[in-house]
Amino acid sequence: MLLIAALFDPMQFVENLRYMGLGMLGIFIVIGTIALLTVLLNRLTAKEQDEQPEQKG
């Protein structure tokens, strides 16, 4: 606990905010790309899907 008290540095929060920005940006880029690709895949294989009936819930 003494070690933690010695390490405590509030400025680190501000300094590392860039990782928050970069991290969230990175996740949205990767997930966004995957989502777009999935839409594309669904469209390209729509003919295959048409063979199955659509379900509503």
Binding site: I4, D9, M20, G23, G26, V30, T38, Q49, G57
Partner: protein
């Protein structure tokens, strides 16, 4: 006669405290059904390794089986990665594939990881802070891999926090969701249309995810790759027997060894520190801000959307599959017994599984040198 009691002299109060902690974990696993597959082995292991001169762990030159297992399966991240094959084989990405836009909520609900990274960095060096932050991935294997790769000094506490909070999702999430949403918002209905998903899409999805994640966050490729390999086995349609083995026998076997091996890091001298309490607190912060990130993202989207989204589904992006999806579903039913959000919440929940692994990869990209 002395030989019968001399080891008792090596017993100290810290060990007894660890027995109590082990007992609490076993109680929570059995009585409260909280992640019993992991909390029970961890609880028993905590007692096992905290017996004086325990032969289960290495003592001097005498190697213990749990220490050997730790080196063989956790220090090199093998156990969590193999477990990911089983998890991948268990996940049905169908609800997500038919509504790909749900994936964005999974991304938003990783906010807690990065917020906790900043918070933890005030107290710990950056590698330990990053390892603690990944508790917010709500995903045990990802936490183990990141913590190990970043060589964290607090892997035992991180594991206990990760698995305990996953089990506590039904207690942690509802008050946060209620705090951030109005009754009217919680009653929003979302029509669910189950669009059929082609087999080609189901097969190509895990392959494409692996490629994309690998290109952008190469450090995540083992995590994502093993998860998606398991899913490919499930979806390919020609490996049903392997899929069943991965989902049941393989996952169960690894889980048995994973829990008890993690406990080898719960020796009193490493675990009973002020830092452990702080890590448990920071883990809670990560879960709270993950939940808040998902809910607030949905509320922001609602400003621009004509057809409103029930913001509660954002909370399901926390990963913690399938608990958080069920939590959202139950909360919606509580507000309106005819409002069914299970499928939407499940879709968001599996997207959270993918996003949390990618978040782990990004963290490794930032700090693994």
């Amino acid at each position: 006669m002395e030989v019968l009691y001399q080891n008792l002299l090596n017993l100290d109060v810290k060990m007894v405290i660890m027995w109590l902690i082990g007992g609490v974990l076993i109680y929570l696993a059995i009585k409260k059904d909280m992640e019993p597959t992991l909390l029970l082995p961890m609880g028993f292991g905590a007692i096992l390794v905290n017996l004086p001169l325990s032969g289960a762990i290495t003592q001097g030159l005498e190697e213990g089986p749990l220490s050997i297992l730790y080196r063989a399966g956790i220090a090199n991240e093998l156990f969590p990665l193999i477990l990911f094959i089983g998890i991948g084989a268990m996940i049905d990405f169908g609800p997500l594939l038919s509504n790909p836009v749900l994936m964005l909520f999974g991304a938003a609900a990783q906010f807690g990881i990065f917020f906790t990274l900043c918070t933890a960095s005030m107290f710990f060096d950056i590698n330990d802070a990053a390892s603690i932050a990944i508790i917010g991935a709500a995903d045990g294997p990802t936490s183990i891999v990141v913590g190990q790769k970043l060589n964290s000094n607090y892997i035992g506490a991180i594991m206990v926090a990760a698995y305990s909070y996953m089990a506590l999702v039904p207690i942690i999430q509802p008050p946060i969701i209620k705090l951030l949403t109005t009754k009217k918002e919680r009653k929003i209905r979302m029509e669910y249309t189950q669009k059929p998903v082609s087999k080609t899409t189901r097969i190509l999805f895990p392959i494409f995810i692996t490629i994309i994640a690998g290109l952008i966050a190469p450090a995540s490729v083992a995590l994502v790759g093993f998860l998606m390999f398991g899913n490919l086995i499930r979806e390919c349609g020609v490996l049903d027997s392997l899929s069943e083995t991965a989902q049941k026998a393989l996952a169960n076997l690894v889980t048995i060894f994973l829990g008890i091996t993690i406990a080898s890091q719960m020796q009193a001298e490493n675990f009973l520190k002020g830092e452990t309490l702080l890590i448990l607190f920071l883990g809670l912060v990560a879960f709270i801000f993950d939940t808040a990130g998902g809910v607030i993202f949905a509320k922001i989207l609602n400003i621009f959307l004509k057809k409103k989204i029930n913001p509660m589904i954002g909370a399901a992006g926390i990963s913690a599959f399938p608990m958080s999806g069920r939590v959202v579903h139950k909360l919606a039913l509580k507000e309106d017994p005819t409002n069914f959000l299970l499928m939407q919440a499940t879709g968001v929940n599996v997207s959270g599984q993918i996003a949390s692994v990618i978040a782990g990869g990004l963290i490794l990209n930032f700090f693994l040198h």
